[in-house]
């Protein structure tokens, strides 16, 4: 008996020992056959074929773990990514397969891994050595890998510039945050806008038509495609109430023009000179595509929206209504403003909409309850975050975004959304599909169902004075709640509670109320962003982090930026005419029109004065030009004077002024023909229209000037030597002219003067 037992235990010992041996062998094998080893061996093999340089053969490539040990450089991390990504800094591996691919671009030149590691930009779990764990796609790691454009969010940890070079998507996201007015409700640190992004609403009652306002409040993007205002999901009743309240804000001066009538045809002339089409879409082409600029809003349905009386006031002084608009204040006389308003009001109107509005039933008169409801809606929905309106409270505070990029993950409520639990996923979903993240209220089965729903609504806002439910059966109470919410506009008036148990009815009611803003007062509206926009904003939000580097070795302070905003008379004129809406001066303004930073060095003062009085197009093929403002003479004189003296860089063309006596215009002409300039610049009627015309011969502009009238010699010389130095984005080729050639060519071009212009003007003093 004991022998049998002994024999059995010996067999068990043998079997168990074999199992243990197998386990140990497995362990040894696992250590040897790690993922990274295979990758490094593949790299070593490939290295033999692709050595770093032709001269040095590939040295013996050691197969070992690799890491960037950065605990001492204040980054406090250890990154082992280069264990698998061995080829990351080997340019000859640009086309290899992951993980051996080299890093894209030349970022590793300025950010070498031994000083920066990898996780500072890419996040993930630096200490891990297998793929899923290293990429952070494991439970309990809250910062998964950022790839592609998402890494641009990390630039902000060290770079405090704006925009950060090499991070275009980040710049786009930051720009979107500013433009869409997020900071009206959210704090966002350095992205705070100084003023409200929406228009001031003080005269809104005198400005817009009621029906338009109703449509707009219900769905802004349907009313005006591309509208910045987000979608609040208001029902008809709610939108009507809000509109009722808004329409009570009237403006006396606007109302005083109610009966004025202007001359349509005269208005058309004014329109043509004002060149509205430069900034606004004002017509459709033969294929019904919109034509016009996109600096200002699309005006094709202007007549449906605004009243003519408002247009009159607006044209006289736009800045009274929209202090921060880009629209300049034209010098319209009262009659011109009236005529223009008549023209625009009658011309830009969609008759189908008008007919539909006429056919629709009459709106009932507004009741005081509706108006009160509208005011409450305005306060609660946070309209004050984007719009200024006298007498309104500030918008309710939304979550602070100043350091949202480094907020701990547990602060975010993902609810039942089926998305990865990470910050980028949360932001993206919030931008694109916010309804997925909306907290859902469900009445718990215990307790009084109707009571629970009632108390979770927003009684202080909607039902003040009617806060208690009457006693009675649950179904009656639920019915009362339904009626109350329909009256206040949260629920569609056509709904009715289905038959069923009280619990089922309560669920139905809760589900419908969850779909509106009834339970969640500060729900974020839907901006209807595209995927690209949502991604850009996600990146911008991720860049708002307190995870900055405190070591001065890594910090890159912001470049100093020159902001053009003088407090002198010129500045006053600029603010009136909004030159920077189209032109750029230093780093301010827009790139639509020419850069004026060195206008004084570029053009002759006389030319500038005449141009300001009567602008014209520089190319035969383009009819649009600077709008005709009809500046008073002293203003155009002053502006030309100012620019010629202030917007000057004396180093431009210094060489020309020093040696212009050595220039030969004949040689220059020969060069002009030889280099083929005529291919892009037309002269005397022949040539290309890519670049500006060298002789303008447009009949409307009798003072049409030629290049010798307009440009200064020093500028021409500097330009010919290196166009990109003066205007980086120009397509004028750099012909590598020698100094003498440039001088000759300049001399030739300066000889191209319009004798008529010269006759009427004083000869140019060469100031230097």
């Amino acid at each position: 008996m004991t022998q049998k037992r002994l024999w059995r235990s010996k067999v068990l010992l043998l079997v168990a020992s074999l199992v243990v041996l197998q386990c140990l062998i497995d362990a040894a094998f696992d250590e040897h056959s790690t993922e990274w080893r295979a990758h490094q061996e593949a790299y070593a093999t490939a290295l033999v074929e692709k050595p770093r340089s032709a001269d040095t053969p590939a040295a013996e490539f050691p197969i070992e773990l690799r890491q960037s040990y950065l605990k001492h450089l204040d980054l406090n991390r250890v990154d082992r990514c280069t264990t698998c990504h061995v080829g990351i800094d080997n340019p000859s591996f640009k086309d290899a397969e992951q993980p051996l691919t080299a890093h894209s671009g030349d970022l590793l030149v300025s950010h070498p891994p031994d000083r920066f590691g990898c996780t500072i930009c890419h996040e993930g779990q630096g200490r891990a050595t297998d793929k899923d764990a290293a990429h952070g796609n494991v439970p309990h790691w809250t910062k998964p890998l950022l790839t592609g454009d998402l890494t641009q969010a990390a630039c902000a940890k060290c770079h405090h510039d704006n925009p950060i070079p090499g991070a275009p998507v980040l710049a786009q996201g930051r720009r979107l945050i500013r433009e869409l007015g997020c900071t009206g409700c959210h704090q966002a640190g350095e992205l705070q806008t100084e003023h409200a992004v929406g228009p001031r609403l003080d005269a809104i009652g005198s400005k817009v038509s009621r029906r338009w306002l109703n449509r707009w409040l219900q769905d802004p993007q349907a009313t005006l495609p591309g509208a910045k205002m987000p979608h609040y999901g208001l029902t008809e009743v709610a939108a009507n109430a809000l509109a009722a309240w808004l329409m009570t804000f009237r403006d006396e001066e606007v109302d005083s023009h109610v009966d004025d009538e202007g001359d349509y045809d005269a208005g058309a002339d004014v329109y043509r000179e004002a060149q509205c089409i430069v900034c606004h879409i004002t017509k459709l082409d033969y294929a019904d595509n919109p034509v016009g600029g996109n600096i200002g809003p699309n005006l094709l349905q202007l007549g449906n929206k605004v009243s003519q009386s408002w247009l009159v006031s607006f044209f006289r002084n736009p800045h009274r209504f929209l202090p921060h608009t880009k629209m300049p204040r034209y010098h319209f006389s009262d009659k011109e403003a009236l005529d223009l308003s008549q023209f625009t009001y009658e011309e830009w109107v969609d008759f189908d909409i008008l007919d539909a509005e006429d056919a629709a039933p009459e709106l009932p008169p507004d009741t005081p309850e509706q108006i009160a409801l509208g005011q409450r809606l305005y306060d609660e929905l946070g309209c004050a975050g984007c719009h200024e309106l006298s007498g309104t409270k500030p918008a309710p505070k939304a979550p602070d975004l100043s350091f949202i990029g480094s907020a701990p993950l547990h602060q975010f409520s993902f609810g039942h959304a089926n998305i990865r639990r990470s910050l980028p996923d949360f932001f993206y979903t919030k931008m694109r599909s916010p309804e997925l993240l909306r907290p859902v209220f469900s009445p718990s089965p215990e307790g009084n169902l109707a009571e629970t729903i009632w108390t979770h609504l927003r009684p202080e806002s909607q039902f003040a004075g009617t806060m208690k439910l009457s006693d009675g059966p649950v179904s009656e109470q639920l019915g009362a709640i339904l009626r109350a919410t329909q009256q206040s506009g949260f629920l569609d008036a056509s709904l009715s509670i289905p038959e069923g148990t009280a619990a089922a009815q309560a669920d139905w009611l809760a589900a419908h109320l969850n779909g509106t803003s009834a339970f969640n007062p500060h729900r974020m509206p839907d901006f209807r962003l595209t995927q690209e926009e949502a991604k850009a904003i996600t990146i911008a939000l991720m860049s708002l982090t307190d995870d900055t580097v405190s070591s001065r070795r890594y910090e890159v302070p912001a470049r100093e930026r020159a902001v053009f905003n003088p407090r002198d008379d010129f500045g006053r004129l600029e603010r009136n005419y909004r030159c920077l809406s189209c032109h750029s001066i230093r780093d301010s303004g827009d790139l639509l029109a020419s850069d004026l930073t060195w206008e004084g060095s570029r053009v002759n003062q006389e030319w500038l004065y005449h141009y300001l009085n009567k602008p014209y197009s520089m190319r035969r093929t383009i009819t649009l030009a600077m709008p005709i403002f009809h500046f008073p003479d002293e203003e155009s004189r002053f502006m030309a004077d100012y620019m010629s003296q202030v917007f000057v860089d004396t180093s431009i063309g210094a060489d020309w002024y020093a040696h212009q006596d050595q220039a030969d215009a004949e040689r220059g002409q020969a060069l002009f023909d030889e280099k083929g300039c005529i291919a892009c610049h037309q002269m005397h009627g022949s040539g290309g229209d890519v670049g500006p015309s060298l002789t303008t011969q447009v009949p409307e502009f009798p003072h049409g000037t030629w290049v010798g009238d307009k440009l200064r010699g020093g500028w021409i010389y500097q330009w010919l030597k290196n166009p990109q130095a003066l205007l980086p984005e120009t397509i004028e080729p750099n012909l590598n002219l020698s100094d003498q050639e440039a001088r000759d060519l300049t001399a030739f071009l300066l000889s191209v003067k319009n004798p008529e212009f010269q006759k009427t003007n004083k000869p140019e003093k060469t100031t230097n």
Partner: protein
């Protein structure tokens, strides 16, 4: 048949005295010694030759420092697997594994709050076989706690605590507490969210005497709770001090005490006559145990007192069978330890090792996010062996965390002194009556625990009906104390009904084990955030 070294021309270990005149003789001797040195070396280590005879087998055990804690001969009933299930061996093997892997982990683990978590990551991802070491350590720890519990149950149900083994039972209880302490101190070391909050809860339980002193208003000058928490943490909160303390306890102090107590535990097993078996008689020994004297009557199989009494505690070197008058039938029931005990022990050890290695290969030990004092886990659960306790703590911290465990441990320690019946030792549950008592107690305990849990969840407890009731009342009248009282009543009732202290003891222990299992299961599966009841984790509120 003894085998001696016959291959050399001289007896092993003997060297000829070199005579001055035997020059070539000494040289030849030297060469011969050099040639023989492997064999000589082997024979110096293993002095008894191959253990093919009983004598050599006994010598193999007796002469070996590591093995001589075992007797040279062992009763065949001690070898019966079903009696002990080898749980003691398994527990010991797991302890050795823990020590070995623990030492390996100590090479890379860094016990500071800013480096502990990172060093865990390094062990997992960087150190060769680090992942295994950690996994083996973790699964051995869980296994050891489970096996210690099972071993305790086995010892109880077999009656191995009875006289003369009472003291060993006490030592065993101390070892049990030490095992839990080791597991708990080790739990903090990874410094992740799991660890941090589990220890926070533990320290708050240590502070729970304040429940009483606060109610009495004496905390300002008598605060054992606060003192205990401070002793544990070295601070008001879990931080570097706690980590240093726990590390010291875990790697040095507790293992040392454990080793010493283990040595005493094994020593006592030998001195008390080996594993408990029903050959023990039912009469208490008149004198304390001294080596060489008879301290127990012989077994019923004996024809009478004998000098070769099986409960004697010195070992025989050999038994000569056959024709001498000193042959004793009882001795014939023993077998040499080598190989009849050593091979099963070796096999069981290897099997344990195999299971732990397989577990370590397949299932990774968890590591949550780094400890963050600002973000409590919800629910923050203790390790599984403390979850039953945590359930009781949810009723009253003092009672559930301090008093009831103390009563249970001390009560269990006391059992051998209260139950001194000597029948049916060495058999599971003793006899049929014992089996019936255990089954009845199990059913009763199951019913009462589940009913109590259902009651507290569906109906509530005192504070739901009397919101202003003083805390002291809750401390003394809560489901934990209720269970304790009920079990004590049941045990005493069983004792009276069956007229047997053993039956009472069986009832007590069964109630305790069943309640432990059910409460642990309940707190593991059915308790969610805010310690609310949920049918499953799928029902927890989402975030």
């Amino acid at each position: 048949m003894t085998t001696e070294n016959t291959t050399s021309d001289e007896p092993s270990g003997d060297h000829p005295t070199p005579t001055p005149e035997s020059g070539p003789g000494a040289w030849g001797q030297f060469l011969r010694n050099l040639r023989n040195s492997p064999r000589l070396f082997r024979d110096s280590v293993i002095r008894h030759g191959r253990p093919t005879s009983d004598r050599a087998a006994s010598q193999a055990v007796f002469g070996n420092f590591f093995l001589h804690i075992l007797p040279t001969r062992i009763h065949f009933r001690s070898l019966k697997f079903r009696t002990t299930l080898g749980l003691g061996v398994i527990t010991l093997v797991l302890f050795f594994l823990l020590t070995a892997t623990g030492i390996a982990l100590m090479v890379y683990y860094k016990p500071t709050t800013d480096q502990a978590y990172d060093s865990m990551k390094d062990i997992q991802y960087l150190v060769p076989t680090g992942r295994y070491m950690r996994n083996i350590h973790r699964w051995s720890a869980h296994g050891m706690v489970a096996c210690v519990l099972l071993h305790m149950a086995r010892a109880f149900y077999v009656g191995a605590y009875k006289h003369p083994r009472e003291f060993n039972w006490v030592i065993g209880m101390l070892l049990f507490v030490l095992t839990l302490a080791l597991s708990f101190t080790g739990y903090l070391l990874p410094w992740d969210q799991l660890a941090f909050w589990a220890v926070t809860i533990g320290s708050e339980i240590a502070q729970s005497p304040r429940e009483l002193t606060d109610a009495l208003g004496i905390t300002s000058w008598f605060d054992p709770g606060g003192a205990m928490k401070h002793l544990l943490l070295g601070s008001n909160h879990v931080g570097q001090e706690a980590l240093s303390r726990f590390y010291l306890l875990h790697v040095m102090v507790l293992p040392l005490i454990m080793t010493v107590l283990l040595a005493v535990h094994f020593w006592r097993i030998r001195k008390d006559g080996g594993l408990a078996a029903s050959r023990e008689s039912s009469v208490e020994s008149p004198k304390p145990d001294t080596a060489g004297t008879s301290n127990a009557k012989s077994s019923p199989l004996d024809s009478g007192p004998s000098t070769l009494d099986p409960s004697k505690t010195y070992g025989l070197m050999a038994v000569v069978r056959g024709r001498t008058p000193a042959v004793d039938r009882v001795m014939a029931d023993t077998v040499p330890t080598y190989p009849h005990a050593l091979f099963p022990i070796a096999a069981l050890s290897m099997l344990t090792l195999a299971v732990v290695l397989i577990l370590g290969h397949r299932i990774d030990a968890p590591l949550a996010e780094m400890a963050n004092p600002a973000v409590p886990e919800n629910p923050a659960k203790a390790p599984w062996y403390f979850l039953g306790l945590q359930e009781l703590v949810s009723y009253s911290a003092l009672m559930g965390g301090v008093v009831i465990p103390a009563i249970v441990v001390i009560g269990l320690m006391f059992v051998p002194y209260l139950d001194r019946e000597r029948e049916d030792i060495g058999v599971w549950f003793g006899n049929r009556r014992g089996r019936r008592v255990c089954v009845a107690s199990a059913i009763f305990a199951t019913w009462i625990v589940i009913s109590l849990l259902a009651f507290t969840i569906n109906v509530g407890w005192l504070r739901d009906w009397f919101p202003r009731i003083p805390q002291m009342v809750i401390t003394f009248v809560n489901p934990g104390t209720f269970l304790l009282a009920v079990f004590v009543a049941w045990s005493l009732g069983t004792l009276k009904y069956t007229n047997s202290t053993r039956m009472g003891a069986l009832a007590t222990f069964t109630c305790f084990i069943v309640a432990f299992v059910i409460l642990t299961y309940f707190a593991t599966v059915h308790r969610g955030p805010n310690w609310h009841f949920y049918w499953s984790q799928a029902d927890w509120p989402v975030h």
